[in-house]
Subunit: 211 residues, 4 copies
Amino acid sequence: MSPKIVDRNEKRKQIGFVALKHFAKYGFSASSMSRIANAAGVGKGTMYEYFSSKEELINFSLTLYVEQIEQKVASLIAGIPNPKTRLRNYLHEVIQAIKNDPYTMGVLLAVFKKLVSDSQDTEHTALLRGMFQSARTAIYNMIIEGVDKGIFRPEARQSAQSIAFNMIAFIDGLWLHALADPRAFDLTAQANDYLDRLFYSITPGPKQIDN
Amino acid sequence: MSPKIVDRNEKRKQIGFVALKHFAKYGFSASSMSRIANAAGVGKGTMYEYFSSKEELINFSLTLYVEQIEQKVASLIAGIPNPKTRLRNYLHEVIQAIKNDPYTMGVLLAVFKKLVSDSQDTEHTALLRGMFQSARTAIYNMIIEGVDKGIFRPEARQSAQSIAFNMIAFIDGLWLHALADPRAFDLTAQANDYLDRLFYSITPGPKQIDN
Amino acid sequence: MSPKIVDRNEKRKQIGFVALKHFAKYGFSASSMSRIANAAGVGKGTMYEYFSSKEELINFSLTLYVEQIEQKVASLIAGIPNPKTRLRNYLHEVIQAIKNDPYTMGVLLAVFKKLVSDSQDTEHTALLRGMFQSARTAIYNMIIEGVDKGIFRPEARQSAQSIAFNMIAFIDGLWLHALADPRAFDLTAQANDYLDRLFYSITPGPKQIDN
Amino acid sequence: MSPKIVDRNEKRKQIGFVALKHFAKYGFSASSMSRIANAAGVGKGTMYEYFSSKEELINFSLTLYVEQIEQKVASLIAGIPNPKTRLRNYLHEVIQAIKNDPYTMGVLLAVFKKLVSDSQDTEHTALLRGMFQSARTAIYNMIIEGVDKGIFRPEARQSAQSIAFNMIAFIDGLWLHALADPRAFDLTAQANDYLDRLFYSITPGPKQIDN
DNA sequence: AATGAATGAGTTTTCATTCAT
DNA sequence: TATGAATGAAAACTCATTCAT
C-alpha cells in the first residue's frame, strides 16, 4: 500500500537549506533551480515534487531562515538576569553569528533587494518585518526591564522604542560592512563602542561609565 | 584630441546612468542589456560599441555612482564652520538623499550582493572600500576638528576612527531599513537620537546636552 | 479464472472512461497521465499496472469509446418498424447525444487529429473506419429496407451506399460546427432540412413531401 | 544607420507558413517551437524575435490561413455568371483543394480542438466564425441570385440561410472523412450527389433534374 | 558609427516512465 | 498489488553577444 517512505517535510527542509546557501551567495535571480538540485543531490525534476515553483522554494527557504534566526535570538537572551549584561551578550552573540557564518547574512541582502524590486511583494515584506519586529521587541523589553530594575534611567522608558530601532539599524549596517570588507574593522570593538555610548546616555548617576 | 572622444565619454555616461537606474531597481543579474539599451534610446548593438560586455557596463556605472556620491558628500560639508553642526547637517543631508531617491540606494544593495558572490572581485571591492573610506575620513576629520576647537572632549581623538566606522555602519543600516519598510520609522528622529547620544558622550562638561 | 481478472478489466474500464473525458477535453498530447490518475483516484504508478504506456491507454480508451457509440446506435434503431421514421429518429437521437454531451464528441476530434499526424497508425485507423462503417451500414440497411417496402423509390437502391456516406459526412460536419459555435445554429432544424431534401429526392410520387 | 535589412513581415509570413504545416500535421500542443524553427531554417531564439510567444505564432498562422482560404474562395466564385454552375464549381474547387493539400485541412482540426479545450478562447473563435461566416455568405448570395434569376424556386429564398449552413457542415464533414480515410470514398461523386439533391429540391418545374 | 537580426547556451517547468517499498 | 518518489528529456522562453549592413 505504501510506497517509498520519505519524510517530505524533512526533505523540503533539506533542500530549503541548500537553496538558502545559494540564495545567500548568489541572490535569488542568479541562483538556478538545477544548480540547487545538483547541490542538494537530487534531480532537477525532484525539485518540483517538493516545491511547485522557484518562488515557492524562495518563500519556504526564507521561512526556514527566519525561524532559525528567531530561535537563535530567543536562546541568546534566555537565562541572563541582568538586562544590561543580557543586552551586551545579545549583541556579541549576533556578532559571533555574523563572524561564523557571514554567507547566511547574504540572504538578508537578497531579501532586501527583492523588496526593492517588487515593492508590493507582501509575503516577503511581512516575513522580514516580522523578523525585525521580534528583534526590536526583544531589545525594547530589555530596556524596559532595566528601567524597572533601576539599572537604566527612567527617561529611557520613553526612548526605549527608538533605541531598539536604532540598535537594529546599527547591527544591520555592521554586518553589511562586514560582508563587504571582512578585515576592515573589529566588529566586537564596534559593538562595544556603540553599547558604551548607549549605556553612558541611559545609566543613572553623573559620569558613570559602564564597562 | 578629436571631438569624438568627448562625445564618446558623454554617451558612455548617459548609458551608464540609465544602467544605474536599472541596477538599482532590479539588481545586476536581473537587468538585461536590451532593456537598458531600450531605456537609453540606443540600439542593442550600440551597447557593445561603448562597453565590451555587461560586466564592463556594471563597472563603469559603479564608478559613475561613486563619483556622484563623493561629490555630493563633499558639497554637503563645504562651508559650515562648526564641525558639530556640520556633522549633524551631513547626516541630515544624507537622510534627505535617501528619502528623495530611495532607488539609488538600491545600487549599493546590488553592489553589496555582488561582493558576497564573487569574494575575490577586487575591482568592485576597491571601489566600495574607497567610497566608504572617503566617507569615514570626512567624519573622522570633523571629529578631530571638533576636538581641536574644544567642541569635543580630548578623549574623542582616540575614538575618532571608531566613531567614524560606527556612524557609517549606522547610516547604512538606516537606509537598508528605510528601503525595506519606508513607513515604519522616522529617519530624521533616528538620526537625531543617534547624534544626541554620540555628542552626549563626547561633549565636555558634566551633563551638557547638545541640541 | 480467478476473480482478479474481472476486477482488472473493470478497473481498466474505469480508468479508460476517465481518460476518455480528458482526451475529449484536452486532446491526447495535452492530457497527462498523472492528471488522469488523479481524476481516476489512483496512484500514478498504478496507471502503469493497468496500461503499459500512455499509447496503450489511448488505444484502450478508444476501443471503449467505439463500443459505447456502437451500442447506442444499435439501441436507437431497434424497435421502430418504418425505416423512414427510423432514419429520422436515428438522426435526431444522434443530435440529442451531441447536444447533451458535446465533450464526448471531442474525442472524435482528437482521433481525427491523431490520424492526420501518424498516417500509418493502422490500429486507430481500423478502429475509426470500423465505427464509421457500422454507422454507414445501419443507414444503408434502412434505405434498402425502405426501397423493399416501397417507401423509397427503386432508384434509391443504387444510391444507398452514396446516401449513407453523404449522411455520415453531414452529421460529422454538424457536430463539428456545433462544437465550435454552439449557439450559431439550430441542429434539429438543420437535420430536418437535410432529411427533407433527402426524402424529397427518394420518395416516390410527384411532389410528395415527407414530414 | 540601418542594419541588416530584413523584411520583417515577409519573414513572419515565411515562418508562419512553416508553422502552419506543423500545426496541420501535429496540432498546436504537439508542435514545438524548436522543431518549427528548425524546419524554417532559423535558430530557436529567432522565433521569439518575430513572435513574442507560441500563442502569438499560432494566432498569426491562423490569420494567414484564413486569409489564404478566403482569397481562394473569392477567386473561385469570380467570373462565373450562372449561380448554379458557380455553386457546383465552388464545391468542386474546394474538393480539389482538399485533395491536393489534405494536410492544410488539418489546421482546421487543430483549431476546432483548441476551441473545445478553451471554451472562452475568443480570439480563435472569432477567427473561425468569421471564416465560416464569409463562406456561408458566399453560398447564401449564390442562392439568392439564383432565385432572382428564376433559376431557383422562390421558396428557396427563405431556406437560403439554412441551405448555406447545411452545405458548410456537409463540406466540413467531407474533408474530415477524407482526412481520416482518403481512399474510402469518391469526394467528387459525394459532392455531386449532395448538389443534385439540393438542386432537385429547389429547382422549379416538376421532376426537373439538374446535371 | 549605429543598429537590429540572429543565435545557442541556459532558465524555469512539465511529464512519461521507472523503481523501491 | 498499489503507490508515490525520483528523474531526465524536452518544452517555452530569455539573454549576452556577434555580425552584416
